[in-house]
């Protein structure tokens, strides 16, 4: 080990924020092997960039940038997409969690809706769901706040429509 202290600090930070990384992987990959691949790639990219992290931005902002950059520009062919129509197709780690019937349904709806968004929209949705301010979203994505507001309104409409469609069967053939 060349830099044990650096490595230890890095592992500690990643461990603290691993929830974010797993969420990014869930949003951008549809199968477990793809999620593992993306998780590995994000860790490798974080580690490579870590020595240049000077703390100008918050650690979480820096982490979001790297995770989203890696997920968005990683254009490898993914394994077959899964459709979240039955509980067995939920992300593996969620299958063991005991959800009530209603919650499970809602979770499926959320994933179904997110799966139908574009890569950029998914990034925005994630930051919205994470309660990030427009200022923080701008720092992560590099999109002006005005443009972010417009996009966010559009995505909210889209999500509303999609979840309504799924709940009430509106718009289904």
């Amino acid at each position: 080990m060349l830099y044990p202290d650096l490595q230890e600090a890095f592992i500690h930070l990643v461990d603290q924020h691993r929830g974010i990384l797993h969420k990014v992987c869930r949003l951008y990959c549809f199968t477990e092997p793809d999620r593992q691949d993306l998780f590995q790639e994000i860790i490798v990219q974080l580690w490579r960039s870590y020595p240049s992290f000077r703390g100008d931005a918050k650690f979480s902002t820096w982490l979001y940038r790297i995770a989203l950059n890696t997920a968005i520009s990683d254009l490898r062919k993914q394994h077959r997409r899964i459709t979240l129509s039955d509980p067995g197709s939920l992300p593996v780690e969620l299958q063991d969690i005991q959800y009530s019937g209603e919650k499970e349904e809602q979770l499926q709806l959320l994933y179904q809706a997110i799966n139908r968004l574009t890569e950029v929209e998914r990034a925005l949705t994630m930051l919205y769901l994470e309660d990030k301010s427009y200022q923080e979203m701008e720092e992560i994505l590099g999109i002006s706040q005005n443009n972010l507001r417009v996009k966010m309104n559009r995505i909210k409409d889209k999500l509303r429509k999609m979840t309504k469609e799924a709940t009430y069967g509106i718009g289904k053939p």
């Binding site: 929830g19 490798v44 990219q45 809602q106 590099g142 999109i143």
Partner: protein
């Protein structure tokens, strides 16, 4: 389902335990190589460079030493091509180095990725096309001035009324369509390799910019 509900589901998800990734597992991941597109391109480039080095050096030495040095011009050609390849790989490597800035804002990283990838493919196309006329002209020069005449060739030259430079013109005339054909083959191949990738990145960038 209201959007605020989505938020609460999302938050709940956060509260649930994520798959265990202990320190040892993260440490193991740190030892692994990147499998991202840029890292793979860089590895392929290094493999190509090694292959060229391993095949070129023995051939250069062979033509330098064998045939009492009479074909050392071929060594010169290969050496020049080797220099060309050094410049070619250096430029490509520099472009790959600049291609990504994962800690930059997502939009600027995408813009940089698209711009550098386009430069990379333009250079690939230009270098891949120019190498053909360059090599052909050099080979012609070697054949003309270094190789001994085949039997009967002197007689042919004595009988042929055409001046010596017409042969060179014919060569160049043949070379032009060949170079054009190589250009289109290269363009097709490069598009096959990187076209979809560039298009997808451009779409993402356009989506980020549109209001």
């Amino acid at each position: 389902m209201e959007l605020e509900n989505l938020k609460s589901i999302w938050k709940e998800l956060e509260a649930q335990p994520t798959p265990e990734t202990d320190g040892e597992q993260i440490l193991a991941l740190l030892q692994k190589k990147s499998r991202g597109p840029v890292a793979r391109m860089r590895r392929n480039l290094i493999r190509e460079l090694l292959l060229i080095t391993v095949t070129y050096i023995p051939v250069i030495l062979f033509y330098l030493v064998e045939f009492e040095g009479r074909l050392s011009a071929i060594s010169g050609l290969l050496f020049l091509l080797g220099l060309f390849f050094c410049g070619y790989y250096y430029r490509k490597m520099m472009l790959l180095k600049k291609m990504q800035c994962v800690s930059c804002m997502v939009r600027s990283n995408l813009a940089r990725h698209v711009e550098t990838l386009k430069k990379y493919t333009r250079f690939y196309l230009l270098a891949g096309t120019l190498i053909i006329p360059f090599t052909a002209i050099y080979v012609y020069a070697i054949l003309r001035w270094k190789m001994p005449h085949a039997s009967g060739l002197q007689l042919y030259h004595r009988l042929s009324p055409a001046p010596w430079w017409t042969n060179s013109i014919y060569w160049l005339l043949l070379l032009a369509p060949l170079t054009i054909a190589i250009y289109y083959i290269n363009a097709w191949y490069i598009n096959r390799l990187y076209g979809r990738h560039i298009k997808k990145l451009q779409e993402l960038l356009r989506e980020m910019d549109e209001e």
